[in-house]
């Protein structure tokens, strides 16, 4: 039994985001972080490891600069990391990305009692598509929006959150779970972990490592293999400033109430 986690390094969109004049993102000026939902996926894997003593392997696709992030994961307790990195993979949309990550996971090997865990979505694109699409490409069942996961042998019972409640779903391994932040509270790196992380394996899977896999084809990976393309990107409009009323006493609230009734807004 092992747990495979998919992780993405993302720009920190909660801080100040710099936009270039042409409407693209100024990535150079931004901090990168581990995608928040993915930390919940890692935590879930590590707590299963605490209980069952299984191995945890984290997969990420991105540039070689993702290495420090992978060391952080190793310091948290992940046993092994795989960095999927090649020029041929660049510009991939969710479809193409899923093909590549699925090929990497399949190349690593999936056993009958394995679980794949992904974060619900990444904060740079907010698509929530890559998890389900990896599962589809691997022909595995999926349960998304997991708010609670219980394991009994090879059967997982998952509380799948809905907008108006939840459903309880049973699924057998091997399977894909995508998790939401309510699932758990991610742990920090341990002191020992920060030393041990340098000894743990960090494998690179490049184009040559994956090119013979049936999912990897020039027509289904990278920019050329992506079914979707960006047509335009732009910043939202800057709204005209409104009116700040003077003062904050009863005259001011009266003035506002009269404007609102006068204009039939209320």
């Amino acid at each position: 039994m092992k747990i495979m986690v998919t992780v993405k390094q993302v720009p920190d969109t909660s801080g100040r985001v710099a936009v270039n004049e042409d409407g693209t993102l100024n990535r150079a000026s931004m901090q990168t972080i581990i995608n928040p939902d993915d930390l919940n996926a890692v935590e879930e894997a590590l707590s299963l490891k605490d209980k069952y003593g299984c191995k945890v392997v984290a997969f990420t696709m991105g540039p070689m600069q993702a290495e420090p992030m992978l060391r952080e994961l190793l310091a948290m307790g992940v046993d092994e990391t795989v960095l999927i990195s090649a020029r041929e993979f660049g510009g991939s949309d969710t479809y193409a990305t899923s093909q590549i990550i699925a090929a990497a996971i399949d190349t690593y090997g999936i056993d009958d009692d394995d679980i794949i865990i992904a974060g619900r979505q990444a904060i740079d694109g907010d698509t929530a598509q890559v998890g389900p699409q990896i599962a589809e490409k691997l022909h595995l069942p999926q349960v998304t929006y997991a708010g609670e996961v219980k394991k009994d042998g090879n059967v997982l019972t998952v509380k799948r959150m809905l907008e108006d409640g939840y459903m309880t779903v049973k699924v057998s391994t091997p399977c894909m779970i995508t998790c939401i932040k309510e699932l758990n509270d991610p742990r920090y790196m341990s002191f020992r972990g920060t030393i041990e992380c340098w000894e743990k394996p960090l494998t690179i899977m490049d184009y040559n490592a994956l090119k013979d896999h049936e999912l990897i084809d020039a027509t289904t990976i990278g920019l050329k293999g992506s079914p979707t393309n960006i047509y335009k990107s732009f910043a939202p409009p800057v709204k005209e400033p409104g009116m700040i009323l003077e003062g904050s006493g009863k005259e001011t609230t009266d003035q506002l109430a009269h404007i609102l009734t006068g204009k039939h807004i209320i």
Binding site: V17, K170, T228, P237, G242
Partner: protein, 371 residues
């Protein structure tokens, strides 16, 4: 002949996935049918709904009232509760049989589970959580004129890559709402999108459409062996959830209520009552556990466009603004005159919400009595 998603000429018509839960149509479906009607008209094709469930014929005809020409209904006990496997199989088989050129789903927890799976199996593109859709280029340019920083009169919209007048242009926020991107799927069909609930406007209901809509029951195959997961139970939240999306007036609270959480929420509720509205909250308030997640407005909460949105003690992070900036009128009350919320507010009062709101409630009561 084998199904080929790249054979673009073989695909026609606009489809909407009509999500139901426990036999009741999700309100977003009516928004999607309304938007689908616009897209079908721009292409000069038919608008079809695809409805999966167990004995759901009774809720199909209403879709005609919002513009559907035809509804494909698939009934089976195996479709009673949503499962990824059963729904994906039936939809993928239907798409391969009828070949729609566009297919849209609500970006609900179900739509966002189902659509990526279908797109991956059908080998086509999918754009997540869209807030604007266009086929017609002129409509898109007019949208950008007011909805972006693009100088549309000095921009070249033509491209050699694809026909800009017939391809679906799918616009969505990215990077937490800091950027907008318009995505196309030029080489494969159907072009698929999930659409954010609450964003598309519902058309006026037309009784004639209900009479005219054609209900079709195609043959299909689905067995227990197709479904790898088992739904043990479906539980509705015990508490009645707040209907932010349908509300005309929303009074939202932010971190500014911290010094007296209960008092702050009570003031917001009273103001909402006077206006006949409901109470919303910023992410900070929900994360702190002061209010439940169904109240949350913003990028990770709900997108709302009420007639009036009153922000009490909400600084106005871009993620919050992404969920409410399309409100018709925005009113901000905040102690900090530099709060970003004032940048998008139509009217603002700089002051302590605990002092201002009781006065505002009285002023509104007085003004309403006079009017």
């Amino acid at each position: 002949m084998a199904y080929n998603s790249a054979d673009i000429a073989a695909f026609k018509n606009v489809w909407v996935f009509c999500e139901q839960r426990q036999g009741k149509m999700m309100p977003t479906t009516f928004e999607l049918i309304s938007e689908g009607r616009k897209l079908a008209d721009e292409l000069g094709v038919e608008l079809c709904g695809i409805l999966l469930g167990d004995d759901v014929d009774g809720i199909a005809a209403e879709l005609g009232g919002y513009g559907a020409d035809r509804v494909y209904v698939y009934n089976s006990p195996l479709l009673k509760n949503y499962t990824t496997d059963a729904y994906t199989k039936v939809i993928v088989d239907a798409v391969e049989e009828f070949k729609p050129e566009i297919m849209i789903y609500g970006a609900s927890h179900i739509g966002r589970d189902l659509a990526p799976r279908c797109a991956a199996r059908l080998h086509t593109g999918l754009c997540a959580d869209c807030t604007h859709l266009d086929v017609d280029l002129n409509g898109y340019v007019e949208f950008l004129r007011t909805g972006s920083n693009v100088d549309v009169d000095n921009t070249n919209f033509e491209t050699k890559m694809f026909d800009v007048n017939t391809n679906l242009k799918m616009t969505r926020p990215a990077f937490g709402g800091h950027l907008m991107a318009t995505i196309v799927c030029p080489r494969f069909r159907p072009a698929m999108a999930t659409v954010r609930p609450g964003v598309m406007k519902r058309r006026p209901f037309d009784e004639e459409g209900v009479k005219k809509v054609e209900i079709v029951h195609p043959d299909f195959e689905l067995t227990e062996a197709d479904v790898q997961t088992e739904v043990v139970e479906v539980v509705k939240a015990a508490k009645k959830l707040v209907d932010l999306i349908g509300a005309e007036y929303i009074v939202s609270v932010g971190r500014g209520i911290a010094k007296d959480v209960e008092g702050g929420i009570a003031l917001a509720e009273e103001l909402a009552d006077v206006l006949g509205g409901v109470v919303g909250a910023s992410r900070a308030v929900v994360d702190a556990g002061w209010m439940t997640a169904d109240h949350q407005v913003g990028q990770t909460g709900k997108t709302v466009h009420p007639k009036v949105y009153i922000a009490l003690g909400i600084s106005g992070a871009i993620q919050h603004k992404a969920g409410m900036q399309e409100s018709e009128y925005i009113i901000a009350v905040n102690k900090d005159e530099n709060a970003p919320m004032f940048e998008i507010a139509n009217y603002g009062i700089v002051g302590d919400l605990f002092k201002v709101v009781p006065l505002l409630i009285q002023s509104i009561k007085d003004a309403k009595a006079e009017a």
